[in-house]
Every structure is written in C-alpha cells, then in structure tokens.
Amino acid sequence: MNNNTPTIREILGHLDVQRLVSQKELMRIDESLDKSDQTSKDPIYMHILLGFGAWFAALFLISFCGMSHIFEDKFLTTFFGIIFLVAAIFITRVNKATFFSQLSLALAFSGNIMVLIGIANGFGTHELSVIIITQAIICVIVYPFYDNAIYRFLAPTALAVLITTWIITEKVFFLIHALVTAEAFLVGTLLFYRKRPHLLTPLIYSSAIMLPITLLLMNISQVCPWRENFDEPLWPSSILLAGSLIYLYLHLAGGLKRLNEPWLVLAILSTILLGFFTTPGILVAIGLLVAGYTFGNRILTVLSYLFLPCFLIVFYYALNIDLAYKSWVVAGSGVILLVIYWIVKTIQPEEVSW
C-alpha cells in the first residue's frame, strides 16, 4: 500500500467528514464495503474474452439453425428466437457457473438476432425501422430479466447503432440531433442517478459509448462505400453537448451558488465558445474525459483517449466538409484549449510543476 494515500478509515475519520456521517451510516458503510468485496466483479479483459467467445458461439449456433432450415419459416425463426431468449434467462437464474453463463449469453445473442430476422421476414420487408422497433422491444423486455452485464451492454448499444444507420440510410439527418440529445440525456441521468440499481451499470457504459459510435458512424457514412451527402449543420448538436458539459460542471461544483468561482466561470465561458465553434466529436471526447476523472472511471477515460484520434481520422476523411474548414475548426478548438491552459496556469493559486 502506498503510504501517501489515505485509507477509507482516515477519510471517514477526518474532522470534515466525521461530523457529517452518523454511527449508523458508518456501520452501513462497513457492511457495504464488505459486501462489495464479496461480490467481486470480473475485470474488463474477462468481459471481452467471454463476450467474444459467446458471440462466436452464437454465430455457429445461428448457422446450425440456418442449416436446419429454421430460417425458411418466419414463425419458426421468431419462435426459436424467443425460446432461446427465455432459455438464456432461465439458465442464468438456475446456474451461475461460467459455462452456463456463457451458454446463456450465446443463446441470448442468437435468440435476439433470430427474433429480428423472423420479425423482419414476417413483415415481408427489410426495412430498418421494423428491426429497430423490434430491437427496442427486445431490449426493454429482456434487459431487466437477463442478469448478464455483457448482454446488457451490447443490446442497447446495438439499438443505437441501428438507429444511427437508419437516420443515415433514410437521409433524415436532422434526427441525428434528437439522437444525440437522447444519448446525452441518458448518460447524464444514469451517471447522476443516486441509489442506482446494480442492473443499470452496464447501461451507463452502453450510453457512454453510444455518443462516440453515433458520431463515428455519421462521419464514416460519408466515406466509401456509402458516400451519403450529410448536409445537416452540426451546430445544434454542438450547442446541446456544450450545454450538457456546462450542466456537468455546475453539478460537480455544487450548483449555481458556486458561480462566483473564477475557474467555474472560465470553464463555462470556454465551453460556450467551443459549443459555437467546434464539432460535436471534440465536445464528446472532452465530456467523456471529465466524466471519467470525476467518477474515477478508467473505462470512460480510456474511451475518451481512444475516441479523439479515431474521430479525427474519420473526420479527416468525411467528404461533406471542406478540408480547409476542418483544419480551421480542429486547430481553432486546440488553440481555445491552449489559451484556457494558459489562463488556468495563471490563475492557479500556487505554481506546481508536472
């Protein structure tokens, strides 16, 4: 243990905290820490391994169903899809062993896909809107009952991907702002939701990854082979995201009563400036970074680090915006951030080297 880091005992025993925490609350904290240790969660690499394993198993399971001529009948496809989903829920409630949890995940993946195929065939159409509504219904029904973090993360993410694809293929580009609004609202609500049920945790990560995915897909759609002419101005999304960031700062600072703090005024003014000037991708990267640091969440921080270069690469190839204008927007945003850096360095109470 690092001798310079205080322990929980020291934090709770600190004069500023101790008077605000009752004896009863301390006992509950002790119990909670004990409980959270007993229900130790798998690290992210384990989720990735298990997720990939179940996904590939699901592909072969679907191939098996396809070769068994199940897909020739739309009702049979839907029926088996539902059976698979129910079986997945049942298995995970009966047995928590790794193999059975993997089996249930593979069944859930394949069941979900088979229901989508069956419903799409049932309507005699491959309209994306039908698939989106079906996926939304599956998500709403299965999410609360199926206790698997990987499925709970992937199913809503898939829904966001489908909606973005629909907006692009149907060329209803103005709806992208509504989608960005919904995603920002969802991630904000979930992050600040107190006494959040455990089952909503995967949805936080799902909603956090939805915004980057939406923006990346939006830009990729203008590159080969789609080359959709995305002629919708992006400023509504930028302003909305800037507003969300300002809300985040205010919440972190402790409300409007802290508006007299110079650093808060600086953060708000610079975000307003960025909102009018920059592109939504940069604001999303900043938002994820701030949220990651605030909540001590490394996944959000890493997501932000990964998203920024990916966004810049995709943005470079986007054909709907002139390269000179892109250069102006990106470099200008960088200059704004560097100017804020210089101001922060100036107003910081004491000089600190790093």
Binding site: T7, L15, V17, Q18, A54, A97, A106, A331, G332
Partner: protein, 403 residues
C-alpha cells in the same frame, strides 16, 4: 518538505499532509488525536493488529479511492455534504487544477497538430512552397526550443517533442506533395522514423516510443506491400516475422526497463499493446499452417515454432516473474484461437461440409467450453496472484481468502 506528488515545496517539516494537493505524508506518524477531533465511533477506532476484528481491518484500511467514495454516495450511504467533504480531502481543488492543465495541454496540442496536418493535406495552392516549408520548419524549431526550455522531464517538454516529431512527418509529406518525388510511401515512414530517432531516444516518453514503433511497423508493412509482395520475392511469413521481431524486441527492452525500475516506462499499456501485436502477427502464419498445412513452407513452420516458444515463455514470464493478468489473458486468448482452429479443421474437414449441421452445434459448444475453461483458469490465477500480493501486507492466507 517537498510533496512527492505535486512537488509543492512550502510544506513545513512536520506537515501531516501537503498544503496544496492534500497528500498525506508519513501516515505512520500521524497520531490518533491529531486526525480525529471527535470521539471515534467503534468502526473507526484503530484496529491495526487487532486480530479479533479482521473484517473491519480489511475493509476500512483499504486505500481510499474516488470510485469507492462515489459508490458510497451513489448507494445513499453518504449525504451530499459528506460526499463533497470526502471528495475534497481525496481530491483538493489543486488536484483538479493539475489534471485540467495536463488535459488541456494534451488535448489542445493534439487538436492544433491535427489542424496543421489537415491544413497541409488541403494543399492550398495560393501558398508558396517556401512559405509552406518555412511554416512547418518554424513549427518544429519552436517546439524543440520550448521543449528544451521547459525541460524534457516535464510533460510540456515531452508533448512538444512529440509534436515536433509528428511535424517532421508533415514536412516529408509536403516535400513529396510539392516535388512529386514519386517515392514509395514506405520510404516516407522509414525516413521519418530515422530522422526522429534521436529525439525518441532522449525523450524518455513512452508515447513517442510508440509513435516511432508505429512508423517502423508501417514502413515495414508498406515495404512488403509495395515492393516485396508485388514482385513475389518475399512471402507474408517474412513480413510477420519482421513485425514480430520489431515488436518483440521492443517488448523485451520495455520489460528490462521495467525490471530496472525506469520511472517513465512503468505504465503497463505499452506492454499490452506490444504483446498484442507480437501475438497477432505470429498467430496468422500459425493458423495458415493448421488450415492449409499442405501449402505450408519451412518459414511457416518456423513462425509456428516461434509462436509456441512465445506462448510458453510469455506465460512463464507473466505468470511467475512479472505477474500481469492482462498479458496472461492475451496469451490464453491466443491459445484458445489456435485450439479452436485445430478443432474446426478436424470437425469441418472430416464432415460433409455443406450438409452436416450438427458440426456447427458441436463447434458452438466447444467454443463455449473452451472459453469458459480459459475464464475459469484466469480467475483462479488472478485469485492466487491476489493472495500472494496481499499476503505480505495483511497476512491473509489462501484458505482465509477462499473462505
């Protein structure tokens, strides 16, 4: 007393914590009465060495972390005021300033650099060639001078050196754009890597080393794609071996540096990236050997042998010597892919491929079984490693842990 975290120098010699960032100094010397002004509740009473209350000792003596405080708040165990007070102790305002400055500088520099690249890619015809060269070269010179002034041990200095290194690539690209040299792209990347090598060596910056390795890898891959492959003179196995050699050597140097406690190479992210590349490039010819064994050449067999050696050596190293679960999971994941390829080959080659649907069901179950086994194995190793690491600090035995 100088704070080891923020280098604040104005702390008194007997300071309990840093006056700027709040880091607690010499915790073992902090007296009970100094830290706790109010009568202590039972759960907060000192329990070090009290073997009758091991549960309390274990839970409350954990390092405090903003995630734990956040979780307690989210679970409704801390009031708004208590949460704010605890957060301020863990993360004083000066910590926020430090973080904000770092991130503003990193993000700002990245965006300005990206803007410069976009601008020169636009190839503005009204701008003369000398003006273009002048701008880029001035940028490089300014970055180097400011980096030297700030000092290469500071983050600002390191990031500016990285910016200068990237701008060398922009300079080469603009040179090719203006003079239409007709040179292959691999020459640009190799030349770029050679030109910035000196800065990379003196930088002591892992991100710049990664950039250099990316340039080298890209140069080698493009050489194969533009020269070796079209002329049929170099088979892809040699490319895989070359890329594996570059990244394997870098990984070995990285591990050696870590063993010698070199501060700037302590982050494990570089290790994981290098290991992942190393394993993937050796995996491709090994899969080829399994799937198309009849067309395999001597070099394919050699690459597969290298893969086996890497897996065995890597497992022993990261299991017993360096103890890193992410690296172990990469190795075990790699082994799973090879086993599944072999099983798939046996299963689908021996059956009537188009008609036997049972093979697909069976293969699906085999994937589940293998991945579950791998996950079980990894969890067991992680538990053993955890016990070994904690045994020295709080004396929990394996049996206690498993209970």
């Amino acid at each position: 007393m100088v704070c080891p975290d923020c280098n604040y120098e104005k702390n008194g010699e007997d300071a309990l914590c840093c006056g700027l960032c709040g880091k607690v100094f010499r915790k073992e010397k902090v007296e009970e009465k100094t830290f706790h002004h109010l009568p202590l509740p039972e759960v907060l009473s000192p329990s070090a060495g009290d073997i009758t209350t091991p549960r309390k000792l274990l839970k409350l003596d954990k390092e405090a972390d903003i995630r734990i405080i956040n979780k307690l708040y989210q679970d409704g165990l801390l009031s708004d005021d208590a949460f704010i007070a605890a957060s301020r102790i863990l993360r004083p305002i000066s910590n926020w300033f430090l973080w904000a400055r770092q991130m503003l500088f990193i993000f700002g520099s990245t965006l300005v650099l990206a803007g410069i690249i976009f601008f020169f890619a636009y190839n503005w015809s009204k701008m003369g060639r000398f003006f273009k060269f002048g701008l880029i070269e001035s940028g490089i010179i300014v970055c180097i001078i400011v980096s030297s002034v700030q000092g290469r041990t500071q983050l600002v200095g390191k990031v500016l050196l990285l910016c200068a290194s990237i701008m060398v690539g922009v300079l080469l690209a603009v040179y090719g754009q203006i003079y239409q040299t007709g040179a292959d792209a691999f020459e640009l990347f190799i030349g770029w890597a050679i030109l910035i090598f000196g800065w990379v060596v003196i930088s002591k910056f892992d991100a710049l080393w990664l950039l250099w390795l990316i340039l080298l890898n890209t140069g080698v891959i493009l050489y194969w794609a533009q020269v070796g492959h079209p002329a049929h003179s170099i088979s892809y196995e040699y490319l895989c071996l070359a890329v594996a050699a570059i990244n394997g050597l870098a990984l070995a140097l990285c591990e050696a540096a870590m063993l010698h406690n070199i501060e700037w190479l302590r982050g494990k992210w570089l290790r994981n990236i290098l290991l992942a590349i190393f394993l993937v490039v050796l995996l491709i010819p090994t899969i080829h050997l399994i799937v198309h064994s009849e067309s395999a050449k001597g070099v394919t067999v050699f690459t597969a042998c290298t893969w086996i050696f890497t897996i065995v050596g890597g497992y022993a190293c990261y299991r017993y010597k360096l103890r890193d679960m992410v690296s172990l999971s990469l190795i075990i994941g790699d082994v799973c892919i090879i086993i599944l390829t072999m099983v798939g080959k046996v299963l689908f080659d021996s059956q009537n491929y188009g008609r036997n649907s049972i093979s697909y069901l069976l293969f699906s179950l085999i994937i589940l079984g293998l991945v579950s086994g791998a996950a079980f194995w990894l969890r067991t190793i992680a538990a053993i490693m955890f016990v070994k690491e904690t045994k020295g600090t709080n004396g929990i035995g394996m049996e206690e842990f498993l209970q």
